[in-house]
Symmetry: D3
Subunit: 329 residues, 6 copies
């Protein structure tokens, strides 16, 4: 029994076995190639606004360091386990390798629900987490980034905590930081744009005319909203379905995506957005469309609905739910 034993890590290992068989990887090289090089757990005592002290568990997993530093996001989620963190780190290794980047994969996070923390508490958790990580990370060893439950502000706190320690500004320690302190322009839109770029390539290969296509996009965060906007105003694809965790809207005549974006900026979600029919979320993915983009949570397509999909192009995207509620400043 190891500290990684849970369902999600097992799933990642099973995926590895399939590919390893396909690539004829020596069985002797499989065990150490799945288990991470190194995992760290830290206890984070934090003074809460109500005067109590809570102790959160923070994690960081570095999958391998053969090619250069490790690199990977930081997830703040109540259910976060070491096994999930290890699986995410391994997947990060694979992504870097496929893109031929000289990095190993890493991942980390805190088992905390960030939506239940005040702004002050969130800063305290974030800074203490980075402080405990100082011996394990660095521009040459392990670089952090945002992931579910973390955002630009948290990256700025990470960078500041690390920089105070080093005695000078070290903006190489995190990706996903605000542009003002060295962040990359266009980062927020990058995933959505990538989805559209690949869908366009698929259309080209399949000889499909974008102007005659319809699309359904599930999710309306950083990824889904940019995808839908790019479909509508750049590719010329008619967006017939959009949705978030509050509403799933279908309109075969096409949805005014800019209006939806404005609505969400004002109201926070799509619940009251009136352009189209609010349909049953369980049936949303199987409605007629040429392109289907699930950009909300993972594992929404499975044995029970796969056969019913109507789309010609299925473009799964990585949903990185970077935003959260009350403590957003």
């Amino acid at each position: 029994m190891t500290i990684y034993d849970d369902e999600i890590f097992k799933m990642a290992c099973d995926q590895f076995q399939v590919i390893a068989d396909y690539l004829n990887i020596d069985p002797n090289d499989r065990e150490w190639a799945t288990y991470p090089k190194r995992a760290v757990a830290v206890t984070l005592p934090v003074h809460m606004d109500d005067g109590s002290t809570k102790a959160f568990q923070g994690y960081r997993v570095q999958h391998h360091i053969a090619l250069g530093p490790t690199k990977g996001g930081t997830r703040f989620a109540l259910s976060l386990s070491m096994g999930e963190t290890a699986a995410l780190a391994m997947w990060m290794s694979w992504k870097c390798a496929l893109a031929n980047l000289p990095y190993g994969g890493a991942k980390g996070g805190v088992a905390v629900d960030p939506t239940r923390l005040s702004h002050t508490e969130l800063e305290a958790v974030s800074r203490r987490y980075m402080q405990e990580m100082i011996p394990f990370v660095g521009p040459h060893t392990d670089i952090m980034g945002p992931d579910m439950g973390t955002n630009e502000q948290i990256m700025a706190w990470f960078m500041d905590t690390y920089s105070v320690y080093m005695g000078y500004a070290v903006n190489e320690i995190v990706t996903g930081k605000p542009v003002a302190i060295g962040g990359t322009e266009g980062r927020r839109e990058a995933t959505g744009r990538g989805v559209v770029y690949l869908v366009e390539r698929a259309m080209n290969m399949l000889k499909i005319d974008p102007e005659k296509c319809t699309a359904i996009v599930q999710g309306f965060g950083n990824v889904g909203s940019v995808t839908a906007l790019s479909f509508a105003y750049k590719s010329g694809v008619k967006v017939v379905g959009i949705g978030d965790h509050t509403a799933t809207i279908y309109n075969p005549k096409g949805i005014d995506v800019k209006a939806a974006e404005q609505h969400v900026l004002k109201k926070g979600n799509l619940r009251a957005f009136a352009q189209g029919d609010h349909v049953n979320p369980n049936e949303f993915l199987t409605l007629p469309c040429d392109v289907l983009v699930p950009a909300a949570v993972d594992r929404v397509i499975h044995g029970r609905n796969a056969g019913q999909l109507k789309c010609r192009i299925l473009a799964e995207s990585k949903a990185c739910k970077a935003s959260f509620g009350p403590n957003r400043k």
Copy 2:
């Protein structure tokens, strides 16, 4: 759910709550005081003698660093878990605090059965474990020592691996190393002598004459054999029972402990030692004696036999089974 969740860690936390109630420790200070400051897990790929590669899991837990470096042993045991390691580290903190030593507690180890490794494999596991630990330990941060399944030789490998990295001999990095490279003389006998020292103090308080006493000592390793020898040849106590995992021997006329020691040095255990009756191990602890010393494994006295003990002084000792079999050189 944390990486520490198992029975032995829960037991340690429960012990803490009892004392914390007694000492009126603020409930806000209890959670972070039980969970360790920091825990590290590493994967150790090792080339085995048969040409295969195995990946072992290694652990290190540092409980708190408020007073100085942490300090604690290294356990090689197949069943070793992170929870057990964390419990052992916390107990180490308590021991240091009670002895007023400026250390926090630590503990580490590898989930491996050292008796199934060849000498070469054992060296490989030991050196790789220390190599992965280099970023986390040091004379000012965390000092290792032997524990169950490790011995002087392994401490020497640890020291050498660390010293090669530093570029000079660092003998402060481990305790329990051979005297020739800076180890402490008398360390092997220290626990047994401590047991006898405390038994003598108890006898003095109880106005018991050692020369009229009898003793049973369970276990004949570093602790039990030294205890029995000291009883017999220093305190003048008559040793009427000795035992190891192969034999439990009782002789109300007294046992020639030096002969037993010679026997074990030659044969490896007490199985064929003929001075006295070989009795049922389950009844051994409840045989008549003035002093009873359980020095083999933990949790041998429990609700089912506590009422049947005949001894006047019960001296529980910490058994540190430092020796093991085939790979001993």
Copy 3:
């Protein structure tokens, strides 16, 4: 014009010239021997309890490092200037040299009135000061200690801030810390006992019988109270005068010093202490006595009162007003 140009630094330089003439020190070696090796000023932005942000100036001067690390106290005083800090550092060098200790002198502090800070603000100022000092101090370079306006608690904050940075407990970074985290026992009483030890040696040289002597002690802090108590209960000297900044009391029949100590522990000062006459503070030092100990502030004996002193032994002591009021926890 340098950053040290003020009256107190000039006084120290003048003292140096007198001795340098006496010792025939080469004129070429005098300038660099008075100016400090190195001085650092830092700005300390602190969030105050009322929501405002104030920026305090912090200083540290290291006089010379020829023999080993520098060493010296930390003063929190509104009037603190760089010149005063430099003078105090130079005096510290001389003290170390006279005691043949392998240290150079240092001194530091913050231009702040600690009595006007809340406990929270005081911690914030103290921790920020140490944080800014991290590049300049260390067990091998410069060791801090308490001085006027700082105390054990502040030293503990200094040590913790430095230790968090280093990643392990570094209690060598400050002297004067609480005994529980490595402080020296007897430190509080050391100066007062030293005064009495030297007065007794002087009495011995002058063939004076302590039991027939009277003493006046100005100041009733760490130094004055211990001095008065030691006179009364160890040397047998009759204490006829004590005083603090609230009251100066004279009683030719002798004062019950233990009663005075109890009074101060309860009330905070001597204002209402009734054993003896409350006399004019300006005349206090010139009242009849055999031994006079000024242990309050410096420069109380000068051209205008020197000729009127009645004492046979004048024992100037260094008054280190380590305690202060409302923020004391």
Copy 4:
């Protein structure tokens, strides 16, 4: 009272208040934003050629480190004070911010008249200054450059002293070093060219034809001479006035600037340069011209002469008097 209290620092703070009001900066953020993060003063004992030892005062101020390393020149001037150094550092911060460079501002120097030092003494002062600065500077923390009274040679000494310490050549530690050891080509001409570039843009906006313009350039060092040459031979502007501290020359028919340059290379200054009338320096700036470039010392335009200027374009340039006399090798 702080170590920065002098007129020039006060002027910089006043400038800041004007802008801060304009930008609505929170009053709480103003105090710490003007006072420097950190200032260091060091004493530099130097053996002089006449056998004596002098102790010079060296300074370095780092204004803020929020965005990256600090950066700024080194001034050797007898009158240099800590306040002036702090003002220059703050101005450097503003310049970097306006140019959107990821640097904070710094400035340093030695209170010494470099023209009165021999070449040997100048090297000794320079090397000792850098040696004392080693703990405070570095490619990631603070980068030095030349300023008034320092030049390429001094930067080379700084680089060598720092590199010997590090054990390898660190040419990132200084800007303004000789091209042969990694300096930037074109650096000497950069300021003058920048002046001309901006004047040309102004002419373009004002619809002025350069070929019909006249210019007066005050100063004939790195900045002034390059400015005048560029006007004459690149922009086609007729240069009617040039001057240095020895002569101010006016010729409404135009001056042969290349001849002036050759003259200065041979004679060291313009004193005997015969092309034009040698006019009263006090009236020089108010002579008729289209473009006026003060490139000598600061604060030459003030309430008493501002109303009399005849120019249409006033291009103030930063004069960096990098050259000096007898010790120039």
Copy 5:
């Protein structure tokens, strides 16, 4: 007598004197400019496959560090001496200087015949050599590369050994490593291509038509084979002679160089290559040709054969015999 005193170092010093006279270098600057800044010798105990332990001598010489890190290859050759290593390091300095690269020269190696080591022994020697070099090398101090007797695999071992020490992948520590871990594409062919590039420039200057030329290339390793192939298939030069240490072949009608390359890939050398006459190696260089490229070992042209050369262009190339036999994996 120094540790460098042998013939090859003396030759390099003599070369330096010739040039130094030509450049009028101050005699005072000549001695230190020839002797290396620093030389290190280490003893490398290695367990051999037959159970014995051998102790090899390893060297590293760093010629000067004035401009940046040193840089240079690693030679494994039984006859390697410190003097030869120093000469090679000095030549490396000259090469870097001529190419205007900010490096000093270095060279190192082990006195071992790599063709007599098994793959395991070669790895052991290589890793131990790098381990002993760790205090002396680094991306900022000294960078290694391959040379005679070493290859890509050895560079990979060097990089791995260094990276394990640093805790992260440091591919800047060696040049000449495999492309997969950061090596430069085209490195193997670079020298041969450079030879041809220069020969083509010479032909152009001499108005020679390549298509009407013949060439003889001595050596058929990395340099010779690439040179011959480029002549034949890129420049259009007819290759009439090729050779290695097993055969020298001449064919005035031209040799099929691709066939020769295939032959060597299969057989390991040219011994049995049948296209042309196998001629006396001593006469090979003096056979008729327009271009002669000695690309095997050094010092093949000397007083006894210089007068007999028939070529119009003599293109000496650096032969880097990077390949070797039985332990090649």
Copy 6:
């Protein structure tokens, strides 16, 4: 051929073989046990008083680091070679091992005749040597001390050069430094006293009465003079012969050793010392005496005179000629 190949290193290796045979050391462990772990050679360019620049060769050999730091003296001698340095380092290892000290042996030095250097030149050579050694030495790696041709002053320069680099006083870096900066009292006399202590033990074993003995002491430096004085005024042995490189004096009635000491302090040597006969130095060692102490140079007793010695006790001492002439300040 290695850099150590000379007669003295060969002699040390031969000595090792004799003992290794005696101790049955595995032949596989002999080669690496004689060759040093590491040797460094550096070139020291020094500006001489006459304006020229000379380049001296400096060496340092570290024999083994298995037990702790290495330790050993620094020799300034024109004939110094790397082989001699390596032999001395190995002997130092043996000495430490015999005394059970946790050190390996080291030795270093410069190939220079210190008696031909001015005080300024000697300081320059010494400081440059230490500066080049900084990467290789340290309190945990290698500690220097004096040896032939070096003295307290040179150790002080070493310590200062190293301390400036570290930024604080590091007196652990050298032994044999002046007492004022942390040197050990009694060090100068230690060798001579050790000789006498051992001679007294030998006398005791041989039942010889010191008061009836005569002694001849060759050499009158730190070792010889202290030996002779201790014989005469502590043991009661009659000293009948003393000598230095200027005179060898024999007086069967006994020599007034204190007078000789005074004579040398005044005149610098024994040349004109008149108490006794000035005898032929070649015959000096074979004159009649009970105890013979050769304390000048090594290898004075050999096959040609061994048979002629008259002494009963032959006490060879290590002569450390620490003093030298004109540059002594």
